[in-house]
C-alpha cells in the first residue's frame, strides 16, 4: 500500500511523467488496436472467435525478424508480412476455417486453438525457441529534460496504426466489398438472397484479418520482442479489448485498444509491473459486470 501511495506521489510531484506514460500508452495501444480490429472483424462477420490471433502476430513478427537477419530493413516487414499473412490466411481459410464456420461455437474455438498450436510449434521448429527482436534503429527524441522519450519505432507504429485503421474504416464504408462485408455481418442469409457471394466475403475477411495481424506483428518485433510461444498472451489481450468494447462496435474496439495501452502503463507505474496485466483483466471483469447489470434492467423493461 505504501509503495502505491509513493508511486502516486511521484506522479503528483512530476506531472510531466503523466504525459510520458500517456504517450507511451497511446503508442503501445495503437498496435493492440490494430490487431483487435481484425479480431472484431472476424468475430462480427464470421462469428469465429479466432484463438490463433496472437500467433498470426508472432508470424508477422518473425517475418520482420527474418528480413532483419537477412540484411533488409525490418520496416519492410510491415508490408511484406501483410502480404505473406494474407496468403497464410487464405490457405487456412480454405483448408480449415471454411469447414467449421457453420458449426457451433466450440468447433470453431477448437479449430482455431489447433491452428494456434501448430503455428507455435512450426515457428519453434523453424526459428528455434529463443526470444528474438528486430532492430529498426530509428532515432528517439527526449523531451522535457529527458523525462519523456518518444521512440521512432513506436511513433511509426502509432502513425501506421492510425493510417491502417482509417483505411479499413473507409474501405468498409465506401467500397462494394466493404458494404458486402457489413451486410453479411448483419444477416448472412439475407445477404445471400440479395446476391452477395458470402463465401468470397468470408475469405476476404479472414485474409484481411491475418494480414493486419502480420503488419501488427512486424511492429511488435521492432517495439518489443517475439518468441514462438508468446502469441497466446496477445490473443488474451485482444480478447479483452474486443469483449470490453463490444464486438459489434468497430470504432469502440480501436478506442478500447488505445485505452488499454494507457491503462497498462499507468497500472504498471502505480501498482507495479506485477499488476500491469492483471489490471486489464480486472477492467474486463468490471465491464462485463456493468454490462450484465444493464442487460438485466433491459430484460425487465421488456417483460
Amino acid at each position: 500500500m505504501q509503495h502505491i501511495i509513493g508511486n502516486i506521489s511521484i506522479l503528483w510531484a512530476a506531472p510531466i511523467l503523466n504525459v510520458g506514460l500517456l504517450l507511451d500508452g497511446l503508442m503501445i495501444g495503437a498496435i493492440f488496436a490494430l490487431a483487435a480490429y481484425g479480431l472484431a472483424l472476424v468475430w462480427g462477420v464470421m462469428n469465429v472467435k479466432n484463438l490463433a490471433q496472437g500467433d498470426f502476430i508472432m508470424m508477422g513478427g518473425y517475418v520482420a525478424w527474418y528480413l532483419d537477419q537477412s540484411g533488409l530493413h525490418p520496416l519492410w516487414g510491415v508490408p511484406i508480412a501483410f502480404l505473406l499473412l494474407w496468403g497464410v490466411g487464405w490457405v487456412l481459410y480454405k483448408a480449415i476455417v471454411r469447414k467449421v464456420i457453420t458449426r457451433d461455437l466450440f468447433t470453431s474455438l477448437l479449430a482455431t486453438f489447433g491452428i494456434a498450436i501448430v503455428i507455435q510449434q512450426g515457428l519453434n521448429l523453424a526459428f528455434g525457441p529463443n526470444t528474438q527482436s528486430a532492430q529498426a534503429n530509428l532515432p528517439s527524441w527526449s523531451l522535457a529534460g529527458g523525462l519523456i522519450t518518444v521512440t521512432g519505432t513506436r511513433l511509426f507504429g502509432l502513425v501506421l496504426a492510425v493510417l491502417l485503421s482509417a483505411a479499413v474504416v473507409l474501405f468498409m464504408k465506401n467500397t462494394r466489398m466493404g458494404q458486402a462485408i457489413r451486410a453479411t455481418a448483419q444477416d448472412p442469409r439475407a445477404a445471400r438472397v440479395l446476391g452477395i457471394n458470402t463465401e468470397r466475403v468470408y475469405t476476404f475477411t479472414f485474409c484481411l484479418n491475418a494480414a493486419i495481424c502480420g503488419a501488427a506483428g512486424a511492429l511488435v518485433a521492432m517495439v518489443w520482442n517475439i518468441q514462438p510461444f508468446m502469441g497466446t498472451t496477445y490473443s488474451i489481450r485482444l480478447f479483452v479489448i474486443v469483449t470490453a468494447a463490444g464486438f459489434g462496435n468497430l470504432p469502440a474496439v480501436i478506442a478500447a485498444g488505445f485505452g488499454m495501452g494507457v491503462f497498462e502503463q499507468f497500472g504498471g507505474f502505480v501498482f507495479g509491473a506485477e499488476f500491469q496485466q492483471a489490471i486489464i483483466v480486472l477492467l474486463l471483469l468490471a465491464v462485463l459486470t456493468v454490462r450484465q447489470i444493464q442487460q438485466l434492467s433491459l430484460r425487465q423493461a421488456l417483460q
Binding site: 507511451d24 529463443n130 518468441q227 504498471g268 500491469q276
Partner: protein, 410 residues
C-alpha cells in the same frame, strides 16, 4: 534446414565414430550414464548446449583411457531421451532409464523445473544423479540423498553486483546504505531465489530497495517500470527475467535512455543483448557460472582457457562458449572421479564417493555440502565492454577493471 557447416559437422562426426574402434583395440566395457535432455520445446537450445558438454567430456575421457574401476577399464556411453522440455515427460523418461534400461547413474536434465520433476524418481530408485544445469535453491532443501548439484545456486546470481556496488561507494567515500536499488524479478521460483539472495545481501549493507517489482511471465514491456527508475534516479538496477526479461530491459533502457551507473542482468548471453542492442548493453553486468579467464584447471581438461579452445574446435558454431556446456563437461568428469575413488559400480558406494568429493576442475572446485549443493562455487561477473563480455569480478579472475559508472552509448 541444414547448412553446409551442418553437413560438414555430420560427416566429421561420422568419421570420428569410426576412429576409436581402430585406435583403441584394448577392450573397455561400456559404462552407461542416462540423461533426459530437451531436444525440443522451450529448453531445446540449452538442452543441446548441455548435451554437447556431456558428449565432449565423455569422448575426451574415453580417449584418455576411460575410467578405471577394479583393474578394468570402462568407456562412458550416455543414453539420451528427449524430455520435450516438460517436467512430467522428464520424470517418466528417467524412470524408464532406471527401470527398463537398467541405467544406474543419471546425469541431470536442463533447468530447475525439469530437475525438480526427476528428483523424486531418482530418490525412489536410490539412484545417484549429478545435475549440472539446475540452480534453484529449492532443489537442495527437500532432503534428497542422491542428488549432487555442482553449479552455484540461484541466490548467488546477482549478489556480487550489490557487493561490488557497495565497494565502489565506499571507495568514493560514500555510505553504501545510501545507494538506491531498483529491481524487478519474474515471478518464478528461480528468479525469486535470485531476489532472496539480493535482499539478504542488501540487508548486510543496510541498503534499501526503492523499487522491488515482480513481472509476470507474459509481460514484455518494462516502460512503466523504467520510467519510475528514471524518475527516482536509482543507483543500481537489477533485472532477472530469463531471456525475455534481459532482451526487453536492454531494448527499453536504450529507448528511454536510462542512465543508471550499475546495471545487472541475468541471461545476457542467451538473450544476445551485446549483439542485438550494442548501444544500451554497453557496461551491463552479467553473472556467469564459468568464464575462460578463470584460474582453474584439472589434469583432464587443462585450464579453463584450454577447455575453451578445445570445445570451440569440437563445436565451431560457438563464438562464445555457453557456461551450460562447461558445467555439463565438469559433471561427467565428476562421475569419473567418483567411480575411481569408489572402485566399484555399486550405486551406494558411488553415492558415498560422490558425497566425499573434493575435486578441482577447470570449472572450479567441487565439494558437496550435506544437502548435495556445492557451496564453494561462486558466480563470476562479466561486464559488456566494447561489445565483449569481460570478467570484472571476482578480482583474481578479472581480466579488466569495471567501468564505473557504466558508459552507455545512447
Amino acid at each position: 534446414m541444414f547448412s553446409p557447416a551442418g553437413y560438414a559437422a555430420a560427416i566429421a562426426a561420422l568419421m570420428l565414430s569410426f576412429a576409436p574402434s581402430v585406435a583403441s583395440a584394448e577392450t573397455c566395457d561400456d559404462l552407461v550414464l542416462g540423461a533426459a535432455l530437451s531436444a525440443t520445446g522451450i529448453y531445446a537450445a540449452n538442452g543441446t548446449n548441455t548435451k554437447n558438454g556431456y558428449e565432449f567430456a565423455a569422448n575426451k575421457i574415453n580417449k584418455a583411457g576411460g575410467v578405471h574401476v577394479g583393474g578394468k577399464c570402462y568407456h562412458f556411453r550416455i543414453k539420451y531421451y528427449d524430455d520435450e522440455s516438460t517436467p512430467a515427460r522428464a520424470a517418466q523418461l528417467v524412470e524408464r532409464l532406471i527401470d527398463q534400461d537398467g541405467v544406474k547413474f543419471i546425469l541431470g536434465p536442463y533447468s530447475s523445473p525439469l530437475t525438480k520433476a526427476i528428483l523424486p524418481v531418482t530418490e525412489k530408485y536410490q539412484t545417484p544423479v549429478v545435475q549440472t544445469e539446475a540452480a534453484s535453491r529449492s532443489l537442495f532443501s527437500q532432503g534428497y540423498k542422491y542428488e549432487f548439484g555442482i553449479i552455484a545456486t540461484s541466490e548467488k546470481y546477482l549478489t556480487p553486483v550489490i557487493d561490488m556496488a557497495a565497494e565502489r561507494a565506499k571507495q568514493a567515500g560514500k555510505d553504501p546504505s545510501a545507494l538506491k536499488v531498483a529491481m524487478i524479478y519474474q515471478d518464478d521460483p528461480f528468479s525469486l531465489d535470485v531476489r532472496q539472495g539480493v535482499v539478504d545481501t542488501m540487508k548486510k549493507h543496510n541498503m534499501k530497495a526503492i523499487i522491488d517489482d515482480r513481472m509476470p511471465k507474459d509481460l514484455n514491456d518494462l516502460t512503466a517500470f523504467l520510467t519510475k527508475v528514471k524518475a527516482l534516479h536509482a543507483d543500481v538496477l537489477l533485472v532477472s527475467g530469463h531471456e525475455k526479461g534481459a532482451a526487453t530491459a536492454a531494448r527499453q533502457m536504450g529507448e528511454l535512455k536510462v542512465e543508471v551507473p550499475v546495471v545487472g542482468l541475468t541471461h545476457c548471453e542467451s538473450a544476445k543483448i551485446a549483439k542485438d542492442f550494442p548501444k544500451s548493453a554497453e557496461g551491463v553486468i552479467c553473472p556467469t557460472q564459468w568464464a575462460e579467464t578463470m584460474k582453474t584447471s584439472d589434469p583432464m581438461f587443462g585450464s579453463a582457457a584450454d577447455y575453451n579452445k578445445e570445445i570451440k574446435a569440437a563445436y565451431p558454431e560457438y563464438n562464445v562458449v555457453p557456461y551450460q556446456t562447461a558445467e555439463a563437461s565438469a559433471g561427467v568428469y565428476l562421475w569419473k572421479d567418483a567411480f575411481e575413488r569408489a572402485q566399484s559400480l555399486d550405486k551406494e558406494k558411488v553415492r558415498d564417493a560422490l558425497s566425499k568429493t573434493d575435486l578441482q576442475t577447470f570449472y572450479g572446485p567441487i565439494k558437496f555440502a550435506a544437502d548435495g549443493s556445492n557451496p564453494s562455487k561462486e558466480m563470476l561477473l562479466r561486464q559488456i565492454q566494447d561489445g565483449k563480455y569481460i570478467v570484472v569480478w571476482p578480482r583474481d579472475a578479472a581480466a579488466r577493471e569495471l567501468v564505473f559508472p557504466r558508459d552507455a552509448h545512447y
